[in-house]
Symmetry: C2
Subunit: 349 residues, 2 copies
DNA sequence: AGGCGAAATTAGAACGATTCAAATCCACTC
DNA sequence: GAGTGGATTTGAATCGTTCTAATTTCGCCT
């Protein structure tokens, strides 16, 4: 019997109230399952709601209650599987908590990020989860989001100083420890000439991973040649292009490389061919992220798994906790990463 | 001089109006750049907006104007790079049109999809872009979104019949033409014995691709041996397993294969080794999708690129056009796919 | 019949913007 | 100095919900 009119105006509380001879307030109470309303009235109203095909207008409700039921998620590069997984995790957790995700993608440009934040903030999200663009600055982000909306930062630090009254939460990966583990693993495979490949030193995550690598090398008493540090954009293409630089220095050529991330590692494996080497046979490679392709590549890639989907859920949970208690002291969580050994990290031949 | 109060209540039009001795209406006009307001008043108001750190409340505006500035995007599996790219494209196009993206992920479950749609619709999106879950049914989707919100379907048809009053737009891929092009390419490379490898015939996309292959073969006057059609689950593993079947028939062995998709093609290339052949040397292979790995594999894979990011922009554009003219007849766009020739489709040796 | 308290319902003012009609202002002209 | 007309400004209603304070209903007791 539920006939929906194929076409017509939007149905509001007033229509329902009029439709069954009761006040707007009562209908509102029914909608929110208040115990105040009488059983039989409730049934009558519910029937009418169904009959007219009512849909709740959450925006109006939020306006009146001065609440929000959305969270903005701003990702530096959604097309990267790592962040796509992260986004899926965020959306999952927010969804089950009854929040809706406002998506924004910055394409790793601070300028675009600023515009996106400005647009999203006008929709009044309860909070923001931000994976910053490479060159994003604290001051500008703060200007865009204002001081009323809590922020959870993921994956990267912002450039510059954040005023202390803005207490933002952080969820970071244990970059340093991960890179150290990867390096130690290569050392245990017999390698002595190990490069650090890819990424840009001005990004905090790159610096941390490089630091972990350096620590492991120092701890093992191994020297590092300057041409073993090759920077690149964190994409496969650029990494493949940059591979040659590893073998151009005057000193010893490396026999292994700790890569900034999986994309870069896959690109390096490709680039090695053009310099007469084959990853997993006569050159060892490790990545970072454990994207889906890592286990499927030839050779399969030794890397650090970061469980991006779980991180997404975690970031969402941090934000939800903050919404519940805005006054709680802000915190930083460093998520552990785990080494997954596959074929690409062959022993020294 | 722009001092933002680190903490305090949200600023509204009233605060600004009071702050510079002008009415709420005038401030509203300034905000929307109306030519009605005097230069000097405008300057004064704008200064005050900045001073108090005003942020526009779009929800309130939308309520009054009965408009919407958001679009819901529901994806069956966000973690899949193909859909992640698509989502990035959608968000890009919507963003530049001043819309915000409400994200939802259904995890390819019709049930979850229903819940997600129900939740999103309450936020009053102007329209919905839906990449349906595998088992999603027209009737249930319609019940969730109602008849007031335009829908663009992507990539898959819904099960069951859609009432004719719901005129939804569609954006699908040209499976048939793509497979035909791949086949024609192999023929032009000199191949005469060409197989169609992988996929299950009960899936509509497989049937369409297989039809394209058959057309090209017929048009070239080439006969097809029955053992040149090998089915498999569309995964690399199963494809590698099934490769042998190509060479087991009594008739001529194929020298090339059109594969259902890239995953299957990569699996086949792996499986060929075990039957004494090498893809890109003495056996030609094509894929479908142009996943990231296609260009990185050894040999690199000739395939059909679906440009998922461009599809995303296109879907968004279709929806925006529909919002501009709700009465326009609904349409279906079959997006072209493009052949990318790489190493795997070698000439007949 | 009158009174009382609990249960159920409702009127009406918010929330923060937009919009229309009406009110003001301000040179100028005659 | 009244009249005119264009340029500005504004009061008040409105969007669809929530919420407070009040009002109505009703069963039951004396």
């Amino acid at each position: 019997m539920e006939s929906q009119t194929p076409v017509g105006r939007k149905i509001t509380l007033n229509d329902i109230a009029a439709g069954c001879g009761v006040s707007r307030a009562t209908v509102s109470l029914v909608l929110r399952g208040s115990p105040l309303v009488n059983k039989v009235t409730r049934a009558r109203v519910e029937e009418e709601l169904r009959r007219q095909g009512y849909v709740y207008n959450r925006a109006a409700a939020n306006l009146r209650r001065r609440t929000s039921s959305s969270v903005a998620l701003v990702i530096n590069e959604l097309a990267n599987p790592f962040f796509a997984e992260f986004a899926a995790g965020v959306d999952d957790a927010l969804g089950t908590a009854g929040f809706v995700t406002l998506l924004g993608s910055s394409g790793d440009s601070a300028e675009r990020e600023h515009a996106v934040l400005g647009s999203l903030i006008e929709h009044g999200p309860g909070g923001i989860i931000l994976s910053p663009a490479e060159d994003s600055e604290a001051r500008k982000v703060l200007a865009a989001v204002g001081t009323h909306t809590p922020v959870v930062l993921f994956n990267r630090e912002l450039g510059g100083e954040l005023p202390e009254y803005a207490h933002w939460d952080r969820l970071m990966l244990d970059n340093e420890r991960g890179a150290r583990q990867a390096t130690e693993h290569l050392i245990s495979q017999g390698h002595r000439h190990i490069a650090f490949f890819g990424g840009h030193d001005h990004a905090s995550s790159t610096r941390e991973r490089h630091a972990g690598y350096t620590q492991a090398m120092n701890a093992a008493g191994l020297a590092i040649e300057s041409h073993w540090r090759v920077q690149s954009t964190p994409t496969r293409m650029d990494a493949a292009r940059a591979a040659g630089a590893l073998f151009e220095g005057s000193g010893a050529a490396p026999t292994a490389a700790v890569c900034y991330n999986d994309a870069v590692a896959l690109g390096l494996m490709l680039g090695l061919h053009q310099h007469g080497r084959q990853a997993g046979r006569d050159f060892a490679v490790t990545g970072f992220d454990d994207i889906a392709e890592a286990s499927m590549s030839m050779p399969s890639l030794t890397t650090l798994t970061t469980a991006p989907r779980a991180r997404g859920r975690q970031a969402a949970d941090m934000l939800l906790a903050r919404l519940r208690d805005p006054q709680a002291p802000s915190g930083t969580i460093i998520a552990p990463v785990e080494l997954v050994v596959r074929e690409s990290s062959c022993p020294l031949s």
